[in-house]
């Protein structure tokens, strides 16, 4: 846990100034609070002891006035600065995590599940605030208070200082002592929270299928079950935190009653110090009361950090070359004896795949579903690497090129090409951020969807909805196709461009394939040819090899 939390602090390095300022404000506020109570107590007790207002008592009461302003002001600033610092640090973490996943899980989430991952991102990143706001800040303030108490009392009565400061110092140890147990409990809470979210997201993602199967009661029962599991884990965590809180307040009480006992045992001589000790213990108790919760917060942050790093440390599917080669000038493609399997225990997709695609060529890659047609796209885009053999672009092995260089040369319409919940224009400009509206319309025209967009009242600014939900399957597919056509890449991979289109539309698009792709190299992945594509080569994937075939 310590390792994960140290690493979180490392991520926050850029915000050090803000974070330290917050801690400084917290220390100031806590010390002002101690001083306020200590002076008030001293003023009254001096007065009571001597029976009259002595100089010391008046002095104490006068000192109260600036403290009365200082303490609330410092508290207010402390809260503002610490919160602002936290938000800044968390935003950094969120973006770091996003970048990391783009690097480590570029092919998507797979079994991790989008619902669960969203839970990780949002709740886990948010939970890291506890590390600073509820552990580091109150912890540092408490240490400052205990030190102040020890120094103030130690100067007058070392024995009394020991009696008061010792239980308080023990309370300081509570957070690190309680954290590991609470970490386990918090880990279980977060896990249960992920479970609850998955139980809500999964049936909603497959809502039509859930309803079609009349599975609503089962989905509800599953959500209920996940809710109960979450409540049980939260209960265990809150019990721990309640007992931690109880221990902390008992230790503060021990300091207070210890000071009184010292006074009773020591007789009249020790009275002055006793009273100050008593009020200091009272003030310190207030600051230390938050401390046992710091253990819980520390634990929760540790568990979140662990899960964040676990996802973020997934090894990248294809390591970047240490010294990437220069981008080759040509873009002829060549596969040489490629062997690839998704996992060691799965049957290989390719055994000995070889083919050539000269610049401007159009390769049709045919085969039944599951033959590995889409896998080839993953290999060419460096989302996976062959176990044997090489893939060359312009004569350069893609293993020696950076993924960015390769992806700049190859645009791909994948089978699961998603539209984002953004405008049509923004979705298209993913492929070419600088493209002007005319270029967007040209691409829409080529994909055969320009008429649909023109008919929309908001035209290019129409929002697509999540996953393109505002459009029919075929329309969404054509928008994705327009996006791929817009990309300024030399090589286009079109994975089933006709899926979801009606046969007339599919035929019309494939007929114009040659002009739509403007002399770029094209890899067309399909179950079958319609006879209008005019490919320059046809390969059929059979048993992990590419065999030349006739249309």
């Amino acid at each position: 846990m310590r390792q994960d939390l140290t690493r979180v602090l490392g991520l926050w390095g850029a915000r050090r100034a803000w974070l330290l300022a917050g801690v400084a404000m917290a220390v100031l506020a806590a010390l002002a609070g101690v001083a306020l109570l200590a002076f008030a107590g001293r003023g009254v007790s001096e007065g009571l002891r001597t029976g009259a207002l002595t100089g010391a008592a008046i002095g104490s009461l006068l000192l109260l006035r600036p403290l009365m302003v200082l303490r609330p002001g410092a508290r207010y600033l402390e809260r503002l600065v610490t919160h602002s610092a936290t938000f800044r640090a968390l935003a950094d973490t969120r973006i770091w995590f996003f970048r990391r996943l783009a690097e480590r899980l570029p092919a998507g989430l797979g079994l991790r599940g989008a619902g669960d991952l969203l839970g990780r991102l949002v709740s886990d990143v948010e939970a890291l605030d506890g590390l600073y706001l509820r552990a580091l800040v109150p912890g540092t303030a408490a240490i400052a208070v205990v030190l102040a108490v020890a120094v103030l009392l130690g100067a007058a009565e070392p024995a009394l200082a020991a009696i008061v400061a010792l239980p308080l110092a023990l309370a300081l140890l509570l957070p690190p002592l309680l954290a590991p147990g609470a970490a386990r409990a918090a880990g279980r809470v977060a896990e249960a929270q992920g479970g609850l979210r998955a139980a809500a997201v999964d049936p909603l993602l497959g809502l039509e299928d859930t309803l079609a199967a009349n599975a609503e009661p089962r989905a509800a029962a599953r959500l209920d079950e996940a809710g109960r599991a979450l409540a049980a884990t939260q209960d265990r965590l809150s019990r721990r935190s309640a007992w931690g809180g109880a221990t902390g307040s008992l230790l503060a009480q021990a300091a207070l009653l210890g000071a009184l006992g010292y006074g009773l045992a020591g007789g009249p001589g020790a009275v002055g110090a006793t009273i100050i000790g008593l009020f200091l213990a009272l003030a310190a108790g207030e600051v230390l009361a938050a401390l046992p919760r710091a253990g819980t917060a520390l634990a929760a942050a540790g568990a979140s950090a662990h899960r964040l790093f676990e996802a973020a440390d997934t090894p990248p599917p294809v390591a970047e070359p240490e010294h990437p080669a220069e981008a080759p000038s040509g873009h002829a493609l060549r596969a040489e004896g490629v062997r690839f399997a998704w996992a060691a225990d799965r049957a290989p997709v390719f055994e000995d795949l070889s083919f050539d695609l000269p610049e401007g060529g159009r390769l049709a890659l045919l085969g039944p579903s599951g033959a590995g047609k889409s896998t080839l796209a993953s290999l060419l885009l460096k989302l996976a690497a062959p176990q044997e053999g090489r893939l060359l672009i312009g004569g350069a092995d893609i293993a020696t090129l950076s993924a960015d260089t390769v992806r700049a040369r190859i645009a791909c319409l994948t089978q699961d090409a998603r539209l984002f919940d953004d405008s049509i224009a923004a979705n298209l400009r993913l492929a070419a951020p600088e493209a002007d509206d005319a270029a967007l319309w040209r691409a829409l025209e080529r994909a055969g969807v320009a008429d649909v967009v023109r008919a929309l009242p908001e035209g290019l600014e129409t929002r697509c909805g999540e996953g393109g939900a505002r459009f029919s399957g075929g329309q969404g597919r054509r928008l994705a196709l327009a996006r791929a056509l817009l990309a300024p890449a030399d090589i286009l991979i079109l994975d089933e461009p006709g899926a979801g289109l009606d046969p007339t539309a599919e035929r019309a698009f494939l007929e114009t394939l040659e002009s739509a792709t403007e002399g770029r190299s094209v890899i067309l992945i399909a179950h079958r040819l319609m006879g209008v594509e005019r490919p320059t080569r046809i390969l059929r994937l059979v048993g992990g090899r590419a065999l030349p075939a006739m249309g």
């Binding site: 609330p72 899980l105 079994l111 309803l211 409540a231 992806r407």
Partner: protein, 559 residues
């Protein structure tokens, strides 16, 4: 920057108080335990003051009182622990009830609710979790903030009336100050919630499309715009907090003022020799205790505000009766005649009608193929029959009876449905098939898997039918996922079969296999099939050509 309309805020409050009323018994427990703990604190302070006064040479007091104070400390701590446990329990039970209702509503609304999945899931997860603080911390804290300081002020007043009055006055000022600073924060809290939700929705959307971003090399640009969104969220949140923290500031100021007043009051008394030193000390010692419930109240104040924001989002969903309108099916009829009479449907007036004046009839044993370009309304016909939407005009009849009088869920009991993009749930293939009819026997599941050609690829998987598939069907190709969906339809065994592009993702070889299974699936049932596939069309006798929501051509085989 719009503030929530008053009606919406009122509905949010109504939702919260109705839920609180329902959980009254559980909510009372932490309050009573808290009061008992405060009473212990008063008694303890009195004993400590006695010992202290004795130390200063006024009155008697010694080890006995100290021991009493120590045991009271133990008792108060025990009571506090019990209070916390009772609070957590009250919060958990309130959340469970709300979650159950909200989720049922989301399922009932079905695909008609077009908000992104992340946003809807946030309603039943995050928004309801956000209500926890309202029930477990805010309500007990609010009650204790009124009763606790009152109890203490009365106790102090019996010792020294003027000190009691000072505490009373301070206690009365706290809610006034909080109300003054809290109103703006309550308004701003809603905006912060909206921003948080937008951020969360955006994350899910971008995460699910991460491969697209990576392939188009836009991940860095997206990271930066996510950063900008987070910055915007921070600015909004800080605006809320600047006001919200003022309520804390008010409390601190009053605390310092009370301490100063009491020190001055008892210091003044000293000039003429203090009449009751023990009382003076007791008054001072009670100050932190007096403010503790108010501090808890102030800390929990945000809970109420965020609960208001969350409740305002939930209230529209939970409006109306929990029971759904419509008739229930007495039993599933062995066969169904589907009749559409002049049916019209419009999703969005700006985009024109999806279906216009559509009429047809399909008899048992008959299969109607709906053909036409994408967007012509084929899927809409199926959505109507699934009860995902209600027609805006015309009549849909099943066996001559109006289908819209049935509860949508009852309507769906009649049919098996295979959509354009089958969703595979995070479970094994077997469980995914079982979804259609959970009471089916293993033999029935295997028969359905065979009929849909699932067995063929499942046997090659490490654990056969028990292989886990992820959300969105990880590890299975689009065609394989679709075959699992067809297996569901087989297992379901209903009089009505609705297929929406069932072979869109299949290669010709697989399509031919599946077509046979589909024919068998449709045999003896009433089937409606939306498709582009010429092969599929050729297998079935009747076709209805749609264009822009109208039937333009009806054709029998061979025509």
């Amino acid at each position: 920057m719009s503030k929530p309309p008053p009606a919406e805020a009122a509905r949010a409050r109504a939702l919260l108080s109705a839920t609180a009323r329902a959980g009254r018994a559980r909510l009372a427990r932490p309050i009573l335990l808290g009061l008992a703990s405060i009473a212990c604190g008063i008694a303890q302070a009195w004993l400590i003051a006695t010992v202290l006064a004795a130390l200063l040479g006024h009155g008697d007091g010694g080890w006995a009182e100290l021991a009493g104070a120590a045991s009271l400390a133990l008792l108060a701590t025990g009571l506090t622990v019990a209070q916390e446990r009772a609070q957590a329990d009250a919060g958990a039970s309130a959340r469970a009830g709300l979650r159950r209702r909200a989720f049922a509503r989301l399922l009932r609304a079905g695909p008609a609710d077009e908000r992104p999945v992340g946003e809807r899931a946030a309603l039943v997860v995050d928004r309801i979790e956000a209500l926890d603080g309202y029930f477990s911390r805010w309500l007990p804290a609010a009650a204790l903030a009124a009763a606790g300081p009152l109890l203490i002020a009365v106790a102090v007043a019996t010792e020294d009336p003027l000190s009691g009055v000072i505490l009373f006055a301070a206690g009365a000022m706290v809610p006034v100050g909080m109300a003054l600073t809290g109103i703006g924060a309550a308004l701003a809290s809603r905006q912060q919630f909206d921003a948080l939700q937008a951020l969360s929705g955006r994350f899910l959307d971008r995460m699910r499309g991460l491969p697209q971003l990576v392939l188009f090399r836009r991940q860095e640009a997206e990271a930066q715009s996510l950063g900008a969104a987070a910055d915007e969220l921070r600015r909004r949140t800080m605006r809320v907090l600047r006001v919200a923290f003022l309520s804390g500031l008010v409390l601190e100021v009053i605390f310092a003022a009370v301490l100063g007043c009491l020190a001055w009051r008892h210091g003044n008394l000293l000039v003429g020799g203090h009449p009751d030193p023990q009382a003076a000390l007791f008054c001072l010692l009670m100050v932190p205790g007096f403010f503790a419930p108010l501090r808890a109240f102030s800390a929990a104040y945000h809970e109420r505000m965020s609960a208001n924001g969350a409740a305002a989002a939930l209230a529209p969903l939970l409006d109306g009766p929990d029971e759904e309108d419509g008739l229930q099916l007495a039993e599933i009829p062995p066969s169904v005649v589907v009749t559409f009479e002049h049916v019209g449907l419009t999703y969005d007036p700006a985009r024109g009608p999806a279906l216009t004046d559509l009429s047809f009839r399909v008899l048992p044993g008959e299969a109607l193929v709906l053909a036409g370009p994408s967007g012509s309304g084929k899927s809409s016909v199926l959505r109507l029959l699934m009860g995902f939407r209600a027609p805006d005009g015309g009549r849909i009849a099943l066996n001559g009876r109006d289908a819209t009088t049935l509860r949508p869920a009852e309507l769906r009991r009649l049919s098996a449905y295979v959509g354009q993009k089958a969703h595979l749930f995070r479970a094994s293939i077997r469980e995914n098939i079982l979804l259609a009819r959970p009471e089916a026997t293993p033999a029935e599941v295997e028969a359905a898997a065979r009929a849909a050609h699932v067995t063929e690829f499942a046997t090659a998987l490490p654990e056969g039918l028990d292989t886990l598939v992820g959300e969105g069907g990880y590890g299975l190709s689009g065609g394989q996922a679709q075959r699992v969906a067809i297996a569901r339809a087989f297992l379901r065994n209903t009089p009505l079969v609705l297929l929406d592009e069932p072979t869109a993702h299949l290669d010709p070889g697989t399509e031919a296999q599946v077509l046979d299974s589909l024919r068998r699936l449709c045999a003896g049932r009433t089937a409606i099939i939306a498709t582009h596939s010429p092969a599929l069309r050729a297998r079935f006798s009747r076709a209805l050509e749609l264009e822009q929501g109208r039937a333009i051509l009806s054709r029998m085989a061979g025509e």
